[in-house]
Symmetry: C2
Subunit: 256 residues, 2 copies
């Protein structure tokens, strides 16, 4: 099977002119098949503010009412996505911007209301990867916006990390997939205060040990749990790195 | 060669809830391969107004400065396009929303400044229809937003009629193409005051005669000239009809 790299970059990097240009230039140089997944939260908040729409967040997640859904559809699926696609095309990358509604590649259900009503937020239920894989084999580079649909006519706001993970898992049917998450740090650190103390490789037993020893803690635990889940679903490697290090053999690699 | 219908619908129809739903329902029932091209001017103007951006028009064409380009990219490529795609998916149509940057399917040059500086407006220079045709053969229905790119990293605002005409012409390489323009009237009328006086068929000699006789006049002349240009470039038929008549054998058909 051909190799495929699915790279997720956070909003901040794709929303600032200088970092976006550098990131896309680095991304364009990565060999082989690839997929880019992007955020765009800051731009959505900025547009919402200009329109007098309040951005409500609970536990770092956006509450998406009908007005905010229009904003994220415009910003994620339109402005940020097409800006990336046009720039990649200028670099010779045959990019194709997609929301989950396009080609029905990712369907989600509106999140049930429990303690919190997140509004028009989607939990991924189905990924149709055949047409996507076919395009990738033809040299196309999908650029995935963090919006899905419910196949009942509605768009739904969906976390970009989730999109990357679900797309990567589904594409294991067609490719040897490496999933790369770009964060603020160079990888999983042995010492939080030392940016260069990156742990090069983590396996499940090592992870359990590091958690027991308190080396890995807090928000990194669910991130790594998600990574092991992706590995269990067939993803070959998960790499946690910094956006300006993509294309280099750095960061933390999570194996099965 | 397989048949393909390229249908262009104006902004007004796709921007009002009731007419949009009816249009897409009619469109979903059209047999065979098809492409939908949409406008979105009213929504762009509405968003621009909310953002305090002035909409400047010259000869019915929008002057697109940098701020307005962001608005049209968001509205045409994001909100209107994805709203259509999601609804079509709910009707079982495997829609794929595209701007010219996606798959580099339509490249344009920024319009040179003459008497009027239209700003970030693109004149179409190149259509790459191979991947598009391949997707259509696989049952995908492209939904084309009126935005192109210059392959230098910039999006450009482009007239939806032009997009429909250029896409139709390029796709004649792969299909027997019928190009359908939806207007306010049921077709080209023999008597402007009589909505039912539709001329069923127009050929070049008949057109010349009608113009001489003053039956066809004003804005309809350039529209028909464009239709004959499409015919000359290989399009089989151009049909001018009303949006609520698509799928019926009505309207005016322009032959070579």
């Amino acid at each position: 099977m051909d190799k495929l790299t699915v790279i997720k970059v956070g909003g901040k990097i794709v929303e600032e002119e200088a970092t976006l240009q550098q990131l896309l230039s680095d991304f364009s140089k990565i060999e082989g098949h690839k997929v880019l997944v992007h955020g765009g939260g800051r731009s959505a908040t900025a547009l919402a503010t200009k329109l007098g729409i309040e951005s409500k967040m609970v536990n770092g997640r956006r509450i998406t009412d009908a007005e905010m859904l229009n904003v994220v559809t415009m910003v994620y699926g339109g402005l940020v996505n097409k800006s990336i696609v046009a720039r990649l095309q200028s670099m010779g990358v045959n990019a194709l911007g997609l929301t989950g509604a396009d080609l029905n590649y990712m369907r989600s259900d509106k999140r049930p209301v429990k303690e919190v009503d997140y509004g028009f937020v989607g939990d991924v239920k189905e990924v149709n990867s055949d047409l996507l894989a076919d395009l990738i084999h033809k040299g196309v580079v999908p650029v995935l916006a963090p919006v899905t649909h419910d196949k009942k006519g509605n768009m739904l706001n969906t976390n970009a990390d989730t999109i990357a993970g679900e797309a990567a898992k589904a594409l294991t049917k067609h490719f040897d997939v490496t999933l790369m998450y770009c964060f603020e740090k160079k990888g999983v650190l042995k010492d939080e205060k030392d940016d260069d103390s990156v742990i090069a490789e983590i396996t499940r037993p090592l992870f359990d040990q590091y958690v027991k020893e308190g080396i890995i803690q807090g928000g990194m635990i669910p991130k790594l749990e998600n990574s092991f889940e992706a590995i269990a679903a067939g993803v070959k490697n998960v790499i946690i790195t910094k956006a300006d290090e993509i294309g280099k053999n750095s960061g933390t690699t999570i194996h099965g």
